[in-house]
């Protein structure tokens, strides 16, 4: 799709080669964790809690251990107890419960047996005596004075010594005088919103194979967004040194933030250790939905004040995120994610609140979608009341470089205005909606992060190259590494093999999350390539018989004005490597700073069937600032994928809990994500406002796409029906009820 012209042009960056790992994926050869089989492997199954909150009085595994095919059984007693202040304490008691179960589906024990059926039968034969405890489910319920505790070991973070509570975090953010500004505003709109839990919905369930050898070393193959994180957490939970564990990342079948923590590997490792055989441990879809981290539910109250000519002068917001049974950080981010408008006066607070449900995990941009749903809905109502075009109102207030985020920091160079202008100029926005359809727009923001990455670039004897990184590829980043290396070295992208290597074969690399891979790992790749080019020039200088300072790297070859002959190509230099000094290889490691924020603006035309409450999207456009799109097809893919996840979040997806805290829809039939027939094409417009802190101007793009869709659709439903939907999902029964209430 059309992109706003990047000021720079490149030879390889910005092209669309077939991704190197694609062939194996279309012929069925790509190895995901559940595809791997080791000789002699056992299969494992869990016993999970049937109660949402209970003390474990006793566990008797004796019957299970005697059952056919059973080779090992583990419970929480097989793992060291970590101190409550240990950063891995919560994950260690989540992996297998210790003394208390905190949500329905909490793992209590696991069995390894020669077949899965035998393991499941034995797990069911484990006898557990429970003492039931009060179940805490709702946000209001959890925050009420005298509320029972969802987790008696939870202490509010960052407030010093305190009593256990149902509060994980409280994050207030303030500037200016919101109360005074609100009182002086010409128009004030206040609304309350609520959002159900949703799940990332990755198609591949969590899976691993672990082989703990007689030497006490564990070989792990895992489906994960970060294998160094898997190694670190597995070591901590087992009480082992990190060097005893090697983790190889299998191909990962979707993560979206849900695979940034550990559920299976320590259990599989301990089972393997006890049984003396490899153990394969795979979650069922039901286990994924019941027991892995969904995105938080939330309640929000947003009040915005504006002048009669559309200047947004004040925002006052209260946000509470239901983060599950452990004190997750998710509740902090909602307020922090307010960054799209100047808002000279701002008073926000966001809370993380516990409940007896699984610990939440990130879902693309964690907690920002809820905040954006609420804020963009209120802004849209203000535009509507003032009779202003929704894009014009947003342009009038859009944050630019130097404006402050809610966190108080000034924005670096950002591209929100460019995205708004791009949507305004687009064919979609310039066209009338189709007959019977109405339109909505909304804005989204995500910070993006940097963090640690390592890369090794090896030049092979024949002038091809291997680029080795430690970032699991969840969206096409391998291809982007090869493209950046091709640009740096000046060789064909297919002369480069990008590899995601195991924890023993590449330097430490943080999790692929926060839209960091193309940015931070890309930086490491570029740095390694640049180091190589210096060395290549030095080798060429030797061969050419000229001074090193007179050699330059141009278009994949060493050239020197002092050398009358041909440029020395990379292949010519690598062929002489042994003679000129040895192997040609470089490694770079960094803790990347300067991640550039990515803004998005979405537009939806839709129809609402007033008899059924069903919403049909007829046209959808996503505009997003990618900085520089290294591989535009995969940038578009991130934008489209995030949009459709947001559409599902907006229109249909929700966790439905019983009053006992049991998930009633733990399958893809009743937790229904969008399918192809629900959707039109998702048009994309990539805006390129390069990030000055990356050699190619990259901004991460993976997360922002999920932030605007719910408000985009809510605003279009308002335009279609006159009704402001404030509760997610905006599913047919709820739309019908809202239409009925409005009459």
């Amino acid at each position: 799709m059309t992109a706003i012209e990047n000021p720079k042009t490149y030879k390889w960056v910005g092209t669309r080669p077939i991704r190197h790992d694609g062939y194996d994926k279309v012929v069925g050869k790509a190895r995901f964790a559940a595809d791997l089989n080791l000789p002699g492997q056992l299969h494992a199954a869990y016993l999970r809690s049937p109660h949402a909150h209970a003390n474990i009085v006793s566990i008797d595994t004796s019957m299970a251990e005697a059952m056919p095919g059973v080779k090992a059984v583990v419970t929480g007693d097989d793992f060291p107890a970590l101190d409550i202040t240990d950063p891995n304490h919560d994950v260690s008691i989540n992996v297998l419960a210790r003394g208390t179960v905190l949500y329905h589906g909490h793992a209590i024990a696991a069995v390894a047996a020669t077949t899965k059926a035998e393991a499941q039968a034995a797990a069911a034969a484990i006898e557990v005596e429970y003492e039931l405890l009060p179940v805490v489910l709702g946000i209001d319920e959890a925050m009420a004075d005298g509320a029972p505790l969802a987790n008696e070991q939870n202490y509010q973070k960052f407030v010093g010594p305190s009593d256990p509570s149902n509060i994980a975090t409280h994050t207030p953010l303030e500037r200016g005088d919101a109360d005074a500004a609100m009182a002086a505003a010409d128009i004030v709109i206040e609304r309350e919103f609520d959002c159900a839990h949703v799940h990332q919905g990755y198609i591949e369930p969590h899976a691993c194979v672990v082989d703990t050898g007689a030497d006490g070393k564990a070989n792990v193959w895992a489906s994960s967004q970060g294998h160094f994180m898997v190694r670190a957490i597995t070591a901590a939970v087992l009480g082992w040194e990190t060097s005893r564990i090697k983790v190889t990342p299998a191909e990962i079948g979707g993560g979206f933030g849900g695979k940034t923590t550990v559920y299976l590997e320590p259990v599989a490792a301990r089972l393997s250790e006890k049984a003396g055989r490899p153990v394969k441990l795979v979650m069922s879809r039901e286990e994924v939905l019941r027991s892995s981290g969904p995105a938080p539910g939330a309640k929000l109250r947003i009040k915005i004040g504006a002048t009669s000519d559309g200047e947004l002068t004040a925002i006052d917001g209260w946000m509470a995120y239901q983060v599950g049974a452990y004190g997750d950080f998710a509740g902090m981010v909602g307020a922090m994610s307010v960054a799209s408008y100047k808002f000279p006066n701002l008073k926000l607070e966001s809370w993380g609140v516990l409940s007896n449900t699984p610990k939440t995990a990130a879902y693309r941009a964690p907690s920002a979608p809820h905040a954006a749903f609420a804020i963009e809905s209120v802004i849209d109502d203000i535009a509507s009341e003032l009779g202003m075009d929704p894009i014009e109102l947003r342009l009038k207030n859009a944050a630019v470089e130097g404006d402050l985020t809610a966190m108080g920091m000034p924005h670096p160079r950002i591209g929100l205005v460019e995205c708004l202008e791009a949507l305004k100029a687009s064919d979609h926005y310039q066209s009338e909606p189709a007959e019977g359809a109405s339109r909505g727009v909304a804005v989204g923001f995500w910070f993006n992060i940097g963090e640690q990455s390592s890369a090794t670039v090896n030049l092979n004897e024949d002038g091809t190259a291997t680029v080795i990184t430690g970032s699991p590829d969840i969206g096409g980043s391998r291809a982007s590494m090869a493209l950046m290396a091709a640009e740096e070295l000046g060789i064909d992208v297919y002369s480069i093999t990008p590899v995601v290597a195991d924890t023993e074969a590449v330097g430490f690399t943080d999790v692929t999350e926060g839209s960091r891979a193309t940015f931070a790992t890309g930086k490491a790749v570029v740095e390694a390539c640049r180091e190589l080019k210096v060395e290549l020039c030095r080798r060429a200088a030797q061969t050419m018989g000229v001074d090193e300072a007179e050699v330059e790297w141009v278009d994949g070859a060493a050239v020197s004005p002092s050398h009358g002959g041909e440029p020395l190509t990379l292949a010519a230099i690598t062929a002489q490597a042994k003679r000129t000094g040895g192997p040609l290889t470089a490694t770079a490691s960094l803790n990347a700073a300067g991640a550039g924020p990515s803004f998005a603006v979405h537009c939806a035309d839709l129809k609402v069937d007033e008899e059924t409450g069903q919403t049909t999207i007829v046209r959808y456009t996503a505009v997003q600032d990618a900085g520089t799109a290294i591989h535009p097809s995969y940038v578009e893919g991130q934008m489209q994928g995030g949009s459709v996840q947001g559409i599902g979040w907006a229109l249909n997806e929700e966790y439905i809990f019983s009053s006992d805290g049991v998930l009633m829809n733990p399958g893809f039939l009743d937790y229904r994500i969008p399918v192809a027939s629900d959707l039109p094409m998702i048009e994309t417009i990539i805006v390129e406002v390069p990030n000055p802190s990356h050699p190619y101007g990259v901004r991460g793009v993976g997360e922002t796409g999920i932030v605007p869709p719910m408000a985009t659709i809510g605003n279009a439903i308002k335009a279609a029906t006159g009704v402001r939907m404030t509760s997610l999902p905006m599913s047919p029964p709820k739309v019908l009820k809202a239409l009925g209430d409005a009459r």
Partner: protein, 81 residues
């Protein structure tokens, strides 16, 4: 002197101030300087803060070198998914 912007939840520890001045060649030294004047603020800042310096966010700001007239924003740690 560096100009330091504090998170809302840390302002009570600095007598309610949102912006304070501090000395130091690195962010860690700035934190130590603040802790000398506002006991307890150092631990609070080290417990969970990233720092925004010259438009870049540093997740581990302890040893980041700063200019004499730098502006430092302490912000909550960021993640992603």
């Amino acid at each position: 002197m560096a100009t330091v912007h504090l998170m809302t939840q840390h302002r009570p520890l600095a007598g309610g101030a949102a912006v304070v001045e501090a000395d130091g060649a690195t962010v860690g030294q700035i934190i130590d300087d603040l802790d000398r004047r506002f006991p307890g603020l150092g631990d609070a800042l080290r417990a969970g803060s990233s720092a925004g310096i010259d438009g870049e966010i540093h997740a581990e700001p302890e040893f980041v070198r700063v200019q004499p007239d730098t502006v430092v924003y302490f912000v909550a740690p960021l993640t992603g998914g």
